[in-house]
């Protein structure tokens, strides 16, 4: 039985007129920034700025070329001052943009960080005093994606970038880096691997990498990518996802996503997912919820937000169509929000305001970026 809280979805804080899809969020200074992708492959990626937490009208502070999309943000201190970096995907090569004032953005490195195959930059992370950029040929969930490179620089404006790892961590079937998270224990990188299942790699202080999960956590191609990472209380939370797959040609059927918890000792359990026998033992989801929270359709965990006292909010968004071109967003359908107040032992569904494509935890609550026909909107969601 599904328990749905009866209160309505929160009202929109702000709207972004037009058809752009909000895919990245960050707070920088006294403003909130939204990176967007156009619904059509030849549209333009944009960066919107709105005062935060004061509120106010959103304004466009950057617009890319035709056939571009903004993919992620990171705030990194460069030459003594915080700088807002934005990664983009573009036909001529993904760009790394920088802004010190949050209003003017410009590229700080050659397109594709100097490599012609890097049409897609992002996600971004900060680790070990460096800005880390994932790079590849297409969106991580695009079946045609390849590359899976991880580059880093202590001074992005110097245009000196070094590889943090072998492409795909030495596995040609790792098609992309789908998520990055800097944790106290080191940088964590999650791959997309459509055939074998996602892998999770962690960097140690010496720069070496340890594979902490493989084979989609023993669910293989039914967990083809880890699409969301979040630091929980003493554990890493992993949300999985899958691209759209034409059912008629795919005997494996739809791939509903899971939520997995990995502790510091390397043991993992599913909070939500498919019970299974595994090389690590018999796994039964703690919350006794099936993959996709019981909804079998192909979907992605687009965000896991953590709050005080073990509160979790998991955003699951249905995947309804293939990626339109190299930089369009996959056809994303309705979202469902699931909240736990006990660290993932039980979840209750809460109303979702629409398709949530990005989310950000802030002291004021969780900001949900919602796509809509009449324009994107930002909603505030209570985290506890």
């Amino acid at each position: 039985m599904t328990l749905v809280e009866t209160r309505p979805a929160p009202a929109a804080l702000a709207t972004l007129p037009g058809p752009d899809k909000p895919v990245a969020l960050v707070r920088f200074g006294d403003a909130l920034y939204v990176g967007t992708a156009a619904p059509d492959p030849m549209g333009r990626g944009r960066i919107w700025r709105m005062p935060w937490p004061a509120g106010g009208a959103a304004e466009i502070v950057y617009e890319g070329a035709d056939g571009s999309a903004v993919t992620d943000f990171a705030v990194f201190e460069s030459q003594g001052t915080p700088v807002l970096y934005a990664a983009t995907a573009a036909l001529g090569g993904g760009l790394l943009l920088a802004s010190r004032d949050g209003r003017g953005f410009g590229p700080v490195a050659p397109a594709g960080l100097g490599q012609s195959g890097n049409l897609w930059l992002g996600p971004l992370a900060i680790a070990g005093g460096r800005l880390v950029v994932a790079a590849g040929s297409a969106a991580p969930l695009d079946p045609e994606a390849s590359g899976a490179r991880l580059l880093a620089s202590p001074d992005p404006e110097s245009a000196v970038w070094t590889a943090l790892a072998e492409p795909g961590f030495g596995d040609a079937e790792n098609s992309a880096i789908a998520a990055l998270l800097a944790t106290g224990a080191g940088l964590v990188a999650a791959t997309a691997n459509p055939l074998r299942g996602f892998q999770l790699w962690q960097m140690d202080p010496g720069g070496g990498w340890t594979r902490r999960l493989t084979d989609g956590a023993a669910r293989f191609s039914m967990n083809p990518a880890a699409t969301a990472l979040s630091a929980g209380e003493g554990e890493l939370l992993i949300g999985t996802g899958a691209p759209a797959r034409p059912e008629a040609e795919d005997a494996a059927g739809p791939a509903a996503p899971e939520v997995i918890a990995l502790d510091d000792g390397g043991a993992w359990e599913t909070l939500v997912g498919e019970p299974r026998f595994s090389p690590e033992g018999f796994k039964v989801p703690f919350a006794l919820q099936a993959a996709g929270f019981g909804q079998r359709e192909t979907a992605c965990v687009t965000a896991i937000l953590t709050g005080p006292g073990g509160a979790l909010t998991v955003v699951v968004t249905a995947v309804t169509g293939a990626t339109p071109g190299p930089f369009g967003q996959p056809g994303l359908g309705a979202s469902r929000l699931w909240r736990s107040l006990d660290g993932g032992e039980s979840f209750a569904e809460v109303p979702a305001p629409g398709p949530v494509l990005a989310a950000l935890a802030t002291p004021e609550g969780g900001v949900l970026a919602v796509a809509g026909d009449a324009g994107a909107a930002l909603h505030l969601h209570a985290l506890a």
């Binding site: 074998r196 023993a218 040609e249 005997a251 299974r276 026998f277 039964v284 006794l288």
Partner: protein, 298 residues
């Protein structure tokens, strides 16, 4: 009484040995192939074309001989046949209930290949036992296909000359279609009611995976239980039966049911790539490959 365990897979998927191993757990009772669900009644199943063609009810005869008459001899098999003939109007469920009564408070372990010959048959199993546990047993499509073709050559090739041989099976379709049918059960069942395991993993490391299966079934897996499960040959059905009901499981298993741990440890991992061993001009289809990736086969 406990709910039964149904092991679901196309033939040649290690099911005889897996069912016998689990069936030797002190809280379980391993059955030969009963093939009860081919019709609405035992009489229907008994006269079903599939029964005549490939699923003879020798396992049922042996089971009734063993449980009703205490032994498997030609005489008790005759008695069993007469007993079954008198109950041809029974449903499969009623027959299973009878077997359960005789076996006592133990989990019946059934691996009848006929249960997955058609979605209607599998649906009948689930309808009769909506709360049973179902284990989907996997084997790599290449090694399973090779085994199936080898079996066909062994049993049918000599009939080719006189024109009575069955046509060679479509080994790839059997694997893909059967597993798609079994997987489709998942959404209709409760969380964890249908589980899957790769037979190769299980057979290579029984002592690691059997406790997981026992945990799933809610039965203990102490040293004594593990020791019993390591002796599938101790099952009354793990041997050739009397002349009137000789079979009821894979013939090779019936002839040599003991576990050969060295052989099991070296079960190979074949590849999905390359020509089919039984049809060198063909490759595995995309549908088969996608299905195989789902279970970690490469």
């Amino acid at each position: 009484m406990p709910e039964p365990l149904f092991i679901l897979c196309p033939g040649r998927s290690f099911s005889s040995v897996v069912a016998a191993v689990i069936g030797q757990h002190p809280r379980c009772y391993g059955l030969p192939e009963l093939n009860l669900f081919l019709g609405e009644t035992i009489g229907d199943a008994w006269s079903n074309d599939a029964t005549r063609g490939g699923y003879p009810m020798q396992g049922l005869k042996r089971t009734i001989a063993e449980l009703n008459y205490g032994a498997q001899t030609d005489e008790t098999v005759d008695e069993a046949i007469a007993w079954i003939e008198a109950r041809k109007d029974w449903t499969a469920r009623r027959m299973m209930d009878h077997i359960q009564d005789r076996a006592g408070d133990r989990i019946l372990v059934d691996k009848s290949p006929a249960n997955v010959v058609h979605p209607r048959v599998l649906g009948g199993v689930v309808k009769a036992f909506p709360k049973a546990n179902y284990l989907q047993l996997m084997r790599h499509p290449r090694s399973r296909g090779k085994s199936q073709m080898k079996h066909w050559e062994k049993t049918q090739a000599r009939r080719v000359m006189d024109g009575t041989a069955k046509p060679p099976p479509d080994a790839e379709f059997k694997w893909q279609g059967t597993h798609a049918m079994i997987s489709a059960l998942g959404p209709k069942l409760a969380l964890g009611q249908l589980m899957w395991i790769r037979g190769e993993d299980l057979m290579r490391d029984l002592k690691f995976y059997l406790p997981q299966i026992c945990d799933w079934l809610g039965i203990p897996c102490d040293d004594a239980a593990m020791a019993e499960m390591m002796k599938p040959e101790a099952s009354p059905y793990a041997c050739l039966g009397p002349a009137k009901a000789k079979y009821g499981a894979n013939t090779d298993f019936l002839k040599d049911p003991s576990l050969d741990f060295d052989r099991l440890a070296s079960i190979p991992d074949p590849s999905l790539d390359g020509p089919l061993d039984w049809a060198p001009e063909e490759l595995f289809s995309d549908a088969t490959r996608q299905q195989a990736y789902r279970f970690g086969y490469r």
